[in-house]
């Protein structure tokens, strides 16, 4: 699959994520997908396998009373990586998270096999989820 197709798949992933449609989202991930959640907070670290990745996405929603949104600014497709640039917003117990975020995806055969989050200030995100 080419860079443009991979970028399109990542855009579909954002759409499903923001709609809370974890079933559609799950179909875009390989069974052995690995996800690296940024920072050193309670949700940070490596999630191994599609089930663990989807459980993590579910937690983001559950712990923000469903307010978590990843507003896409751009998706850039390359040969080895596909990069999503997004604004992350969430609210929880009077706290607000509003942070520019980058996710570096690796796709194989039209499925996400790896995702790595990068934040403009991971420490601030850790505080939000604490």
């Amino acid at each position: 699959m080419g860079a443009a197709e991979n970028a399109e798949l990542v855009r579909r992933g954002y759409e499903a994520f923001n709609a809370g449609d974890l079933e559609t989202l799950g179909e875009l991930f390989a069974e052995d997908a690995v996800w690296h959640a940024a920072g050193s907070g309670p949700l940070s670290g490596t999630k191994q396998g599609r089930d663990a990745v989807m459980a993590y996405f579910g937690e983001l929603g559950a712990r923000s009373q469903g307010s978590f949104q990843a507003t896409v600014q751009d998706v850039v497709g390359g040969e080895s990586h596909t990069v999503g640039i997004q604004q992350t917003t969430a609210e929880s117990n009077g706290k607000t998270l509003d942070m520019a975020t980058v996710i570096v995806f690796v796709l194989r055969d039209g499925q996400v096999v790896e995702g790595r989050e990068f934040l403009e200030d991971p420490a601030r995100s850790d505080e939000f989820w604490a």
């Binding site: 940024a38 497709g77 390359g78 990586h81 990069v83 640039i85 403009e120 420490a123």
Partner: protein, 141 residues
Amino acid sequence: MTDRDDGKVRAMGAAENAEVVRRGYKAFNAGDLSALRDLFAENVVWHAVGSGALSGTKLGRDEVLAYFAELGEQSQGSFRATVRDVLGGEKHTVGIHQTHAESDGKTLDMATAIVFVLHDGKIVEGREFSEDSALSDDFWT
């Protein structure tokens, strides 16, 4: 000009922007701030990641170059940005690199992404993203 020609022009711009960013990494790692300066617009804005001593927004080429020099000085010249990939898009050029620095027995080794905006072949904006800037905040303290 046909739509297809238009598309080709845009695609070439993305490749050229990626090439400028790769040249920037090379100059940065060589400590060649003069070559680096040529790649930045005078009114460039740079957003340094995290909440540490060197974090925050740098306004203008002089401030951005001074920031880069600080990274080198405070790590006794050990700061390296090892490029993993550079992606050229229509609006953004993205650099993915491994940041490595050593200082006073401390080691920083962290995956980093930079989102660049280029206009007319010059960098007008850069925004750093890290997987765990608490590490870098501690390092630069």
